[in-house]
């Protein structure tokens, strides 16, 4: 998805993991996605560079839809749709 499309998404849950280093954002994503329903969208905020690659791979293995990443000033927004 394009950045503009990602930014226009209605997000059902935001997980702010900017205060943690790897593996904090990944674990936060795993914990928090349990609290939303299939088809709902979750965004993970992370300032950890490795998370940009880690979460998409994890999502693919777990059957979630990785929708894309938006780069903000000093952090990333990673969008997932629960499978």
């Amino acid at each position: 998805m394009e950045t503009s499309e990602l930014k226009a998404l209605t997000v059902d849950k935001t997980v702010d993991a900017r205060g943690t280093a790897c593996p904090g954002p990944l674990l936060a994503a795993k914990k928090e996605i349990a609290g939303i329903s299939g088809g709902q969208v979750m965004e993970v905020l992370s300032a950890d560079e490795g998370t940009k690659r880690d979460i998409p791979k994890w999502a693919q293995k777990k059957g979630h839809d990785f929708m894309g990443v938006v780069e903000e000033d000093g952090y990333f927004r990673i969008y997932l749709k629960k499978g």
Binding site: A21, P23, L26, L27, K30, W58, K62
Partner: protein, 176 residues
């Protein structure tokens, strides 16, 4: 394949139908098999080291396995058993690698808000099936004969045969 007396078209259709059924069955078996494998994926970790740098690395790897819902068996061997003794739980610990950079290492962990190794282990136990087995010999070396001599993370005291069996069965096997 069903052979009918109603001509080649129906026969061909039945044949195609069987092929589709077979494909669906194969797919189901494949996906079911994958699900079984996913559910049973297991990591076995031989944790020999009791130094805080290696314990932290073990904690990070353990977190990755937990995020992946793997079952994890940790076998705490010789030097590792000391770190799991009840009285050592608050110990800051030492580094196995680059000990002269210890202050820099600890300062970086604090600045980056990295969990302590013990917190990584606790979190992973909450997320997935992690069992921590203390090697009986290792425990004795450090004065720990019974499970209550170790911190609450330890699940049992075991012999080396159990570790070998677990390693043989594991999808991922690590020695730290």
């Amino acid at each position: 394949m069903n052979i009918t007396s109603e001509g080649p078209l129906k026969s061909r259709l039945c044949h195609e139908n069987e092929k589709i059924k077979c494909s669906i069955l194969k797919y189901q078996l494949f996906t079911n098999k994958n699900k079984i494998i996913m559910a049973q994926q297991k990591m076995t970790l031989a944790l020999f080291s009791g130094s805080v740098d290696k314990l932290t690395a073990a904690g990070v790897i353990l977190s990755g396995a937990a995020a992946d819902d793997m079952d994890v068996d940790i076998y705490v061997l010789l030097m590792g058993a000391r770190a799991f003794k009840k009285e050592n739980i608050e110990e800051k610990g030492t580094l196995a690698e680059l000990p002269h950079l210890q202050d820099e290492f600890f300062a970086s962990l604090e600045r980056l808000k990295v969990n302590t190794w013990i917190q990584f282990f606790k979190d992973a136990k909450e997320l997935t099936n992690v069992k921590i087995h203390i090697c009986g010999l290792a425990g004795k070396i450090w004065g720990g004969e019974k499970l209550e001599d170790f911190n609450e993370l330890a699940d049992d005291i075991c012999g080396i045969g159990e570790y070998i069996t677990s390693a043989q069965e594991a999808d991922v096997h690590l020695f730290i």
